[in-house]
Amino acid sequence: MYSGPVIDCDVHHARSSDAELIPYLSRGWREYVTDRGRAGSVPLTVQDGFPNPHGFMRADTYPDGGGEPGSDYLTMQAQLLDARDVRRAILTFGDDSHLAGHHNPYFATELARACNDWSIDRWLTQDARLLSSIMVGSQLPDLAAAEVRRHAANPRMVQVMLVDNPFNYGFGHPVFHPIYAAAEETGKPVAIHGGAGGWANPPSTGGGSVNTYFETHVLWPQAIQTHLVSFIAHGVFEKYPTLKVVLIEGGSAWIPSLLWRFDTEYKGLRREVPWLKRLPSEYFAEHVWASSQPLEISPKREHVIDLIRSMQLEDKLVYSSDYPHWDADEIEYLSTRLPAEWHSRLFFENACRLYGWKADELKKPAAVVQSAK
């Protein structure tokens, strides 16, 4: 089993109640949310989604002292950060990650700002290994870009995260470009996280909506595929040549077949996108990473390995546990499914390349705390 240093690129931190976030809203928005008398507060999270028959969390991740999984630092520290040699863990929020699914764009923008401040205040101060995603209300891209720039000087706010889709256009559409301009300018990758199914309009499945969590979970890669194709076709990487993108929780075994098809289609349909200068797979190779979870389980171990190897994805996969969710991938488990010669890249080095960290320095325990501050 792999026992070296680990960077975990998808850790869902959560809050136990709305009361935890409300202090981070502006005074006006606090009034808006709370001043409803017996009606209670305005819900802060998008009220939609498919129920999971098991619940969405590992049963053992509920903190002993109460609260939601992912909401208690000490529980996370014991179960995740100290359980392995975790050098860095990137926080990706819980239900708040769906804030771009809110109908009210101004509320979403304010929630994004508040969530980011909450993340810094409540989490990044607890442990130097923790880093946070930046949530944005992508309904208002200019304000979303301003939120990204607000964190420009904070190296622990490491990426801009997109989940729900407010516009019914792939994320490569120019309406989203102000966000990418800010991401490139601040040197922060864009993370596209799967799982908008049921929380947003449009549905995250091609061809129509599905009806069970089972279906939507099988089809999570579809939305990510849409955004990946959209990013490349719209020339986002021509316009923002140093931008990096990481696809989170969409798996990876589909990537080769999509890129093979994408390259072939480009040969016949280049006239429609003449601003592209290279094959789609070449843009992918330079700009795109993918998280490992959930690793597809092929009946024979070598089948998924062959697929990953066919596009050299062993150099682009970054480990993600998805803690504390029910479908999380354990390091022990991945170690048995993927070749040992890939482990140091998968669990550590690829993420260093993605986020621009010096692997040699980060391997030194003393340097972890200093460089993360």
């Binding site: 020339g235 021509e238 040969k267 016949g268 280049r270 006239r271 003449p274 601003w275 592209l276 094959l279």
Partner: protein, 119 residues
């Protein structure tokens, strides 16, 4: 050399298919220059020169659509794969190409240099 007819017989921007040796060759007049390629797409052997001829479309930025009329491009009628007629190269990969036949104009006649290797 294979004489494929007088210059005046070639309509601007239209391929004319001729037999040259054992091969069908498409001959194109483009802004009073002549280009010739094998009428056989390297992809799936489609009749390449029955496709659409145009200038080379390019975009200096996402969303822009510009045309370079200096360089004619043929798009195969079967799958739309495009080739630069100057060198025969696919627009997405220089190493992938259709065979080009050098053309000479002498005394008002169009002559194909069959068998001559091109760059």
């Amino acid at each position: 050399m294979v004489d494929v007819g007088p210059v005046a017989d070639f309509e601007e921007r239209h391929f004319r298919i001729v037999m040259a040796g054992d091969h069908e060759v498409g001959v194109l007049r483009w802004q009073d220059r002549f280009f010739a390629v094998h009428n056989r797409c390297p992809h799936q052997k489609g009749p390449l020169c029955l496709g659409v001829v145009s200038g080379r479309l390019h975009g200096s930025a996402p969303g822009s659509m510009e045309v370079d009329d200096e360089t004619p491009v043929i798009a195969c009628p079967w799958h739309g794969w495009e080739f630069d007629l100057e060198r025969g190269r696919a627009l997405w990969e220089e190493g992938y190409a259709v065979k080009v036949v050098p053309v000479q104009i002498k005394e008002g006649r169009v002559l194909l240099e069959i068998g001559k290797r091109t760059a």
